[in-house]
Each structure stands twice: as structure tokens, then as C-alpha cells.
């Protein structure tokens, strides 16, 4: 398939009968995939938690969601270090729980990431439109830039995973550095610019506000679980996936703390709670042009990195479902030259375009969050069943998470609390989405499952599970 020439350069040639995804990624790419998808939540979105319950509630939501996602990252790291397959949680569900759960988890992933991609493209288009307006141009449109964002990133993904995630690594690192520079730029050791005591505002809506703010507290970390989608393309899954995921989680906890402190110390909660680009607004309040430019670049880069990672993850999940015939097998193809799931990438482009051009941003984002939340709830069950069926010592693990079953229980409790938080603000969407997943589950169980090659779908060389 591929040859290495004497000078060490890679040349792709076809000489075999088999094609697989390319194993070229390292821990830094895994970090870039996970943090790249999430970091946009620091630049915009998390601050709606402030609107729900005030600055202090947003901090509690930040910590609570941080705990939820630390559990997610630990659980994911352990299971994925043994299930080295594209599709991440879908492949986990297939092997550990069963086909119907796997079908649902696969759809959670595709919907969550495609919606998030659409939301990011909308945001990128909005930012460019805003810049056009600020530059004095009349009648500027965002749609051409929304479409260009999706098409350009789809092209990048289509032509290879290494370039895609190296690009993500660079722009994500720049966006993260922008947050760090802003944090030190406002001199947090002094109160020259920051007024936390005056602006924090207590708990204006009491503890109900704290619970309601949990919904948007997820934005600080939503998407870190996407690192598992790279499982089939990393050089050493057992090492790179836990390392990249846990480093990503640490990065996000640092970025979230810095973002919250800077923003609530610079802006009244009433404004911050409905701001479109809070970090950029914080930079504007410093009066520093260089900080403004840096945070604008960071905002754009974080948006692009998130959309880019979403295309990568959604296509892997869709590809895996096609390969197992949970969806038409046509989607399970790999490009012989670029070694990417090219049909899945191509197929998801018009879907992302339809949502980006035709649906309101808040509905798109809520659908993404709810699909993600359903996936996290699955993880708590999945982990319990994984340890029960294959206890420590029965199969080789690249990472063993501590204190089991506590993280799985904490994850389940926090998911339940977050469902209630989402119900408070978006109850209709929550119910509509539940109906959607129930209907498609029935379609899978009564129609689609007969196409699945039942024996072929279980590929892991694991011993027979305990009790079977």
C-alpha cells in the first residue's frame, strides 16, 4: 500500500488488496482533536451559564462540569485504550453493551458533531460579517463564509488525517495561548483592571439558577470525548489516547478557570450572561489593541479548529457504522490515496450545510449538547459493564482509571442533574429528541439490523466475557 523511500519520505502506492485508515497520529494530535473541538466553548457559549444563575453559579457549573468531564475522560481513556477502533464510543457500545445501544451511540456522535460543526460555521460566518460591518461595509452577508468554512475544512479532512490534525494542533495552540496571554495581560495579581468583588453578583436566582447554569457549564468541555474517534489512526492507541485525552482535560480546566476569572472580573453578570463573544469583549475592555487582535484571531481559530475536529469525528462514527452495515455499507470505504473515510466525509457536507444555513444557532447547539449528554450517560453504564465483563487483569489496558465505580456513579448523577437543567430551558427540544431516537431505534431493530453481518461486527481479540 505505502512505501518509504531511502530518504525517509512517504509515498503512497497501491500494491495490495487491502486498504485501512492511516496510523500516523501521536498524542499531540489527539490533544489537538479533543481540545480543538472544545476550546471554542471558552470563547463563546459558556457565559450563558452566567445569564442563568450569575457569575458564582457559572463557577460552580464550571467545576461540576469539570468533574463530569474528568470522569468522562478517565472512563474513555481506559476503555478506548483497549478498543482501538474508529467510531470511539460506538465501537465500545457494540462490544460491551450490544447492537441497539451501539446504533444509538453512533447516531449521538454523528448528530452531536455535525450539529456542532454547523454551529461553528455559523459563528465563523457571523464573525467575518461583524468584521465587515466594523470596517464600514454595508449589506455584508455571512452565508458565503459559512459555506466556505464547511467546504474548505471538508476538503482538508478528505485529503488526509495527518494534515488535518496538524492544522488543528497549530490553530488550537494559538487559541489557547491567546487565553493565557489575556489572563496575564489583565494583571490578575492586581485590581487595576479586574473588579471581582464589585462584579461577581452573588446568586441572583438562588440554587435553582446554579442547576440551570449546568446546561451551559458543559460548554467549557463539550467534545473532549471526541479523542476516541482517532483510535484507529494513532500510532500507539494504548499510550497516545489516554495521554492526549488527559492532557486535553487538564488544558481545558486551566483555560476554563482563566476564562471565568477574567470575564466575571471585567463585565457585569447581566451583560456577560448574554454576550456573543465574551473573551473578545474582555480584550476590548483592556483597551489594548494587540490583545483585541490576538483574541479575535483566537476566536476565529477556535471556531475553525472545532468545526475541523467535528468533521473528523462525525465522519469516523458514520464510517464505522457503514463498515458494520448499521448504515449502508457504501459508507465504509477508505480512499486508496488519502486513506480517509472519503464517502462519509462527502456525505456529511450537505447535511452540515442544511443545518448551518437553515436552522437557528441555539436549536442547533441544543441538539448537539443533548446528543452529547445522552452519550455521556451511556458511558456510565458502559464502564460498569466493561469492568464487570472484563475485570482488571483479563485484558491488557493502556490506562486504568482509579476509584472505580465512583467516577461512573458521579458521571451518572451529574448527567441526571444536567438533564434537569436542560429541561428547565429546553424541555420541548429534550422531549422531541427523545422521540427522534426512539423512532430511529425502532427502525434499526425492525428493519436495518437484518443487514448487519452479526458475526463480523465483533472484532476485538478479547477473551470471553465473565458470565458468558
Amino acid at each position: 500500500m505505502s512505501e518509504i523511500t531511502t530518504d525517509g519520505t512517504a509515498v503512497t502506492v497501491i500494491h495490495g488488496e487491502k486498504i485501512s485508515l492511516l496510523r500516523v497520529l501521536g498524542p499531540a494530535h489527539v490533544w489537538a482533536l479533543g481540545v480543538g473541538i472544545v476550546l471554542v466553548g471558552e470563547f463563546m457559549g459558556w457565559n450563558f451559564a452566567v445569564g442563568k444563575g450569575g457569575g458564582l453559579a457559572a463557577l460552580i457549573a464550571c467545576w461540576t462540569a469539570g468533574l463530569l468531564y474528568t470522569c468522562v475522560a478517565m472512563i474513555d481513556s481506559e476503555v478506548t485504550s483497549t478498543v482501538a477502533a474508529a467510531g470511539g464510543q460506538y465501537a465500545q457500545a457494540k462490544h460491551i453493551v450490544g447492537p441497539l445501544m451501539a446504533f444509538n451511540v453512533g447516531l449521538f456522535l454523528v448528530m452531536a458533531y455535525t450539529m456542532l460543526e454547523a454551529a461553528n460555521a455559523i459563528t465563523a460566518g457571523y464573525l467575518i460579517q461583524t468584521v465587515g460591518g466594523m470596517a464600514g461595509f454595508d449589506g455584508v452577508h455571512d452565508k458565503p463564509f459559512i459555506v466556505l468554512t464547511i467546504m474548505a475544512l471538508a476538503l482538508l479532512n478528505y485529503r488526509g488525517v495527518y494534515a488535518t490534525l496538524t492544522f488543528n494542533l497549530v490553530i488550537t495552540a494559538i487559541a489557547f495561548v491567546a487565553i493565557v496571554v489575556l489572563f496575564f495581560g489583565v494583571r490578575p495579581w492586581s485590581h487595576d483592571l479586574l473588579k471581582p468583588n464589585e462584579l461577581l453578583g452573588g446568586l441572583p436566582y438562588g440554587w435553582l439558577g446554579v442547576i440551570a447554569s449546568l446546561h451551559f457549564g458543559l460548554w467549557f468541555y463539550l467534545g473532549i470525548e471526541g479523542t476516541t474517534q482517532a483510535a484507529e489512526e494513532v500510532r500507539s492507541p494504548a499510550r497516545s489516547l489516554p495521554l492526549g485525552t488527559m492532557l486535553g482535560m487538564i488544558t481545558l480546566l486551566i483555560a476554563a478557570a482563566m476564562t471565568w476569572y477574567v470575564c466575571v472580573s471585567l463585565m457585569p453578570w447581566e451583560y456577560l450572561g448574554q454576550a456573543t463573544t465574551p473573551l473578545f469583549d474582555a480584550a476590548r475592555l483592556t483597551g489594548s489593541t494587540s490583545l483585541m487582535v490576538l483574541l479575535f484571531i483566537g476566536t476565529i481559530f477556535s471556531t475553525l479548529a472545532s468545526a475541523n475536529g467535528c468533521i473528523n469525528d462525525a465522519s469516523r462514527a458514520w464510517f464505522s457504522m457503514g463498515r458494520d452495515r448499521y448504515m449502508p455499507a457504501w459508507f465504509g470505504a477508505v480512499h486508496p490515496k488519502y486513506r480517509t473515510p472519503f464517502r462519509s466525509i462527502f456525505f456529511l457536507v450537505p447535511i452540515a450545510l442544511i443545518f448551518a444555513l437553515g436552522a437557528p444557532l441555539d436549536q442547533v447547539v441544543t441538539f448537539s449538547i443533548l446528543s452529547g449528554l445522552l452519550g455521556y450517560t451511556f458511558m456510565s453504564f458502559n464502564m460498569m459493564m466493561f469492568r464487570s465483563k472484563w475485570p482488571l487483569g483479563s485484558i491488557r489496558r493502556g490506562y486504568v482509571h482509579p476509584l472505580h465505580p465512583l467516577p461512573a456513579i458521579v458521571l451518572f448523577v451529574l448527567c441526571a442533574a444536567t438533564y434537569f437543567a436542560v429541561f428547565l430551558g429546553y424541555g420541548t427540544q429534550l422531549l422531541a429528541m427523545m422521540v427522534f431516537y426512539i423512532v430511529v431505534s425502532m427502525w434499526f431493530a425492525f428493519h436495518r439490523y437484518k443487514f448487519v453481518r452479526r458475526g463480523d461486527q465483533f472484532t476485538m481479540p478479547w477473551p470471553r466475557p465473565r458470565g458468558y
Partner: protein, 60 residues
């Protein structure tokens, strides 16, 4: 027509070109290779012979 409108037309044009190329490559690839080859990938398969990353293969 102002500069931003030119930029908008450019964005549309580049998007259409990318879409056309993706479609062209998709059709070309589908017709150039058999389905058996294109869909020969197997879940979780680790084949060191297929790894092309030079560093992984010990190259400097």
C-alpha cells in the same frame, strides 16, 4: 460593488470549486477501484506494514 462583496463572490467561487473537486474525486475513485478494495478496511486492524509514518519506521 465594494471590496467585501468581491470577497463574498470569491468565497462562493472557492466553495463551488472545492465542491466540484470533491465530487470529481469521489466519482473518479469510485470508478477506478473495485468495491472490494475500497471497503477492505477492518475494524481495529493494526498492520505495521501499512504504517507510512517515517518516524514510526525508524527513519530520521
Amino acid at each position: 460593488m465594494n471590496a467585501f462583496q468581491w470577497l463574498e463572490y470569491l468565497a462562493w467561487a472557492v466553495s463551488i470549486l472545492i465542491g466540484a473537486w470533491l465530487l470529481y474525486d469521489l466519482v473518479k475513485t469510485n470508478t477506478s477501484y473495485s468495491e472490494d478494495v475500497l471497503m477492505s478496511s477492518r475494524e481495529g486492524e493494526i498492520e505495521d506494514d501499512l504504517v507510512i509514518d517515517p518516524t514510526h519506521r525508524g527513519a530520521k
